[in-house]
């Protein structure tokens, strides 16, 4: 049945997907030519089959095979052109259910394989995942009388770029916006969740309001030599982080999708592809619940997002990271949809204050100042008991971390290297060994996680210093605390910035290299660097830098993220930024601190007050440095575990038990282990991997839910571009005025001119080298304790954190005034 036939618009005859395609085709949309094998053919092969019991593979009807062959000839002509074979079950792509990813689709099917592909498509109705999906959605699925599938045979579009377009924001957060997701090659890579796509948010005026470039490491190639084998190909490094669509192409896609929305009368999820610069629509369906934000979860207990971890990145952890992390997580914490939450019911016993549910949530989310709440005497004994118990059982560790030299921590790097290179340790054992020291009498620097946690006590000491100054020097500007507690020469984040600066200086001395770093696109830059002799001072310095800091990267706590050692392009981007201008900010840690200390001493009248203040400052400086440095070391553990997992993955791919790179990160450890031991096969884990990849992609689109079963006060709804003031929490006081530069990912764009105001969604140590160029820093998430605040204070850069949706409300090029001390931003232009 041709798509042009009026009968092909009947969803009960050709299934939901084919009916939609037919309507699009007949309305003049650029739909690839296709024909449909209607449900009668299905019934003739599977009459009376039980939807829940997989039938034996029937003999394909010879008459039907002949008809299909004739239709194929009519479709492709005399030339043997490959086709795509797509499922179109009854109810598929409907308003209630999409069945997205549940049934099979085959690409590059040749004439010889067509009949087999059609049969496989039919049989995919009984796949494990499709049956499970029907059971899960039993209340919305069609009845057994409507259990049937048509099959679409479509001319193969050899897409250079493809993706999906949602005419209404599928996350439900920005109803006025549309979203286009795009990637290289065929859309299967994106639909299967194998790539992190480029995302273009389009405002009501049909103009792009925000672009987020994804890391498109793989693609399903436009020309497959071996369609039945692994379909994934690596994307060249220079293409991974560049937008795969031009703005006018995005606008063309959205215009077409809006037309489809008008035609069908509801918001659409449109699959599109570009071949030879021609845009095609491959399918269109109503946006279903599955495409929207994840459905509500039924969870017992009250949970709130663990802010100190959430502030490091927006995206959820991959399943392998969650699984390994969970092994070492006390029951107080729990991963929900890839994000870490803490249990409020348990935690409130540690907080003996009379707090309402909302106040407690706000406190745990580190929003606003300290609540003015009275003591809850009922809960006080239990809280004190718990704290005393904790101190008595853990206090020795606590005291051991109080007087240790910074350089001793470097031994942890050696330990990590030894464990990483020891074949007796698998990924889990590596994680356990490095997280929890086997020997009670091992040095404290073998236990960097515990040291990191214990160093958080500086926040309490900071409170004590604030109280002291408030009481005995009330007229003193409180910003003196920030100045007096900076200048940590031993802080590794600071040393990393200095080393990048030195690298830039070294590169600047070689005119050719400087020009290459500034002007060449990344792929040519890599070639230029490869041509340099191994003993070139810059190469030697770069190697030294990567040896010391190469285990770091953006989103460094997720095991799926490649480290700088593996892909140093982010480091080269930072170098380029430094080379652009020599006037990036430097700081004089001694001078600043000594001047502030003098000011403080003059304000305090008594000697004991000065002694007490000096003691607190010494301790704060010590613990702040410990906290930053232990993070540097414990991220080595993630790098070591990643190395182990990649080795295991390589082995599994060679054995044919895994097909695609990075799939291992979508398994749990037990599953990967079973695969490695031959107890499970690729066929068994493939649906799980596909489902988790799709879910991960869906959840990456949305901001994390701040709490479960806890009522928090609603924040004011957000508009589009800011017109007035924005509020945030001060992480480093000061004032600055300048031009906004929104940077969503420093590995894509790190072009920050000196004096510009950096606006970022989150920051982690890999962002640090950008900081000295900025006049001020505005971050969407975070708190006083967060990395952005700590490093900003080092460089005395005014910094505001927890500025809601600032990356969307502020635009690059706007002029703003940042009153960091007052926690507000004024938009001037």
């Amino acid at each position: 049945m041709a798509l042009e036939s009026p009968a092909s618009q009947d969803p009960l005859l050709v299934g939901g997907k084919a009916a939609q395609l037919s309507r699009l085709n007949q309305a003049g949309f650029p739909v690839p030519e296709a024909f449909v094998i209607n449900v009668d053919a299905f019934h003739s092969h599977f009459e009376g089959c039980d939807p829940h019991v997989r039938p034996a593979r029937p003999e394909f009807s010879p008459e039907l095979a002949k008809e299909i062959d004739a239709a194929l000839q009519a479709l492709t002509g005399e030339r043997e052109q490959p086709v795509a074979v797509r499922s179109s079950a009854l109810g598929e792509d409907g308003v209630n259910l999409s069945y997205a990813g549940q049934h099979s689709t085959y690409y590059y099917v040749t004439r010889d394989d067509l009949v087999r592909a059609v049969m496989n498509c039919w049989l995919s109705l009984w796949s494990d995942s499709a049956r499970a999906y029907r059971v899960r959605q039993a209340d919305r699925a069609l009845g057994p009388e409507d259990f049937a599938m048509a099959v679409i045979v479509q001319r193969m579009i050899q897409a250079e770029r493809s993706g999906v377009c949602f005419t209404a924001d599928p996350t439900g957060q920005y109803p006025e916006h549309s979203l286009v997701e795009a990637s290289w090659g065929l859309g299967a890579a994106l639909v299967d969740g194998r790539v992190s796509p480029d995302r273009f948010f389009i405002g009501p005026d049909n103009k792009i309001s925000e672009t987020r470039i994804g890391r498109k490491r793989f693609k399903v190639a436009e020309n497959l030599d071996n369609p039945l084998g692994s379909r994934l190909e690596p994307v060249p490094a220079h293409q991974q982080r560049v937008a795969c669509l031009q703005p006018e192409e995005v606008e063309a896609i959205i215009a077409l999708a809006k037309r489809a929305e008008k035609l069908f009368g509801s918001a659409q999820d449109v699959e599109w592809a570009y071949q030879d610069d021609t845009l095609y629509i491959l399918q269109s369906r109503a946006i279903t619940a599955s495409a929207r934000a994840p459905e509500p979860l039924e969870i017992s207990g009250r949970w709130v997002l663990f802010k100190p971890l959430a502030e490091n990145f927006h995206e959820p952890f991959t399943p392998m990271t969650v699984d390994l992390f969970s092994q070492v997580l006390p029951p107080l914490g729990q991963f929900i949809r890839g994000r870490l939450y803490i249990n409020v019911d348990q935690l409130q016993w540690l907080i003996p204050l009379k707090l309402s549910e909302a106040e407690l949530g706000e406190l745990l989310l580190l929003r606003g100042g300290s609540p003015k709440a009275g003591i809850d005497w009922r809960r006080l004994p239990a809280s004190l008991g718990l704290l005393a118990g904790f101190y008595l059982s853990n206090g020795i560790f606590w005291h051991r971390t109080a007087n240790v030299r910074m350089e001793t921590l470097s031994a942890f790097a050696t330990l990590t290297r030894n464990v990483r290179d020891n074949a007796d340790y698998d990924a889990l054992a590596t994680f356990q060994r490095l997280f929890l020291q086997r020997n009670f009498f091992a040095p404290i620097w073998h236990q960097v996680f515990q040291v990191n946690v214990s160093a958080g006590r500086y926040f309490g000491l900071l409170g004590a210093l604030q109280a002291l100054l408030k009481r005995f020097a009330p007229t003193l500007d409180q910003s003196v605390i920030t100045r007096v507690c900076t200048g940590h020469e031993d802080m590794l984040s600071r040393q990393m910035v200095e080393q990048v600066r030195m690298l830039a200086r070294q590169a600047g001395e070689d005119v050719e290299l400087r020009r290459a770093l500034l002007d060449k696109p990344p792929e040519q830059l890599a070639l230029a660097l490869a041509e340099l002799p191994q003993n070139h001072p810059f190469i030697v310095a770069l190697q030294a830098f990567l040896t010391r800091f190469g285990h770091r990267c953006i989103k460094e706590m997720d095991l799926i993220t490649p480290r700088w050692q593996e892909d140093p392009s982010a480091v080269l981007m930072m170098l380029r930024n430094y080379l652009k201008s020599d006037s990036v900010r430097t700081s004089d840690p001694y001078g600043l601190r000594l001047a502030a200390q003098d000011e403080l001493h003059q304000a305090l009248a008594r000697r004991w007050q000065r002694w007490w203040a000096d003691y607190l400052i010494r301790r704060i400086r010590y613990y702040v440095t410990w906290r930053e440095n232990t993070r540097h070391y414990h991220t080595m553990v993630f790098a070591a575990v990643r190395t182990k997992l990649k080795r295991m993955e390589q082995h599994l791919i060679e054995q044919g038990r895994l097909r695609c790179p990075d799939d291992i990160f979508f398994l749990h450890w037990d599953e990967a282990k079973a695969l490695d031991e031959g107890k499970r096969s690729w066929q068994e884990v493939e649906p799980t991997i596909r489902e988790r990849r799709q879910r991960h992609q869906r959840e990456s689109r949305v901001l994390p839910q701040e709490s479960f079963n806890l009522k928090l006060p609603e924040r004011s709804p957000l508009g589009g571009q800011a017109t007035g003031e924005l509020q945030g929490e001060c992480a480093c006081p000061g004032y600055a005025e300048g031009i906004v530069k929104v940077i969503l990912d420093p590995t894509v764009s790190a072009d920050l001119d000196p004096g510009e105001i950096l606006v970022a969604p989150y920051t982690d140590p890999a962002w640090t080298p950008l900081f000295p160029s900025a006049a001020a820093i505005i971050v969407e998430v975070g708190s006083y304790l967060s990395h952005a605040g700590t490093v900003a204070r080092e460089y005395q850069i005014p910094c505001l954190v927890d500025v809601e949706a600032c990356t969307r409300r502020l635009k690059t090029g706007q002029r703003v005034r940042v009153f960091a001390s007052e926690g507000r931003i004024e938009v001037v232009q």
């Binding site: 729990q334 051991r400 007087n403 009670f440 404290i444």
Partner: protein, 91 residues
Amino acid sequence: MSVLVFLASLPLAVWALAAPFSLIDDTDTTAAVVRISTRCLAVIAFIYLVGPHGRAPILWGFLTVIVLHLTLFGVSRWLIIHRGFNVKRID
């Protein structure tokens, strides 16, 4: 009185028992020895102050801290290695 001595000896025990670890935690052996000596003197002074009747409660205080500390270390290690710490996965 004995209870008070016992309770007072608990934080003292935590503080004092952390000192010997300086020998393996700190590269500066002199500083470690000074730290151990200071804390030993503090414990001796405490024993002297409470008199002969307080020795048993102090001993119990030290034993309690050692047992609690070893228990926390042992149990958490066992739970992590046997994967019983946090078994739920909410996807």
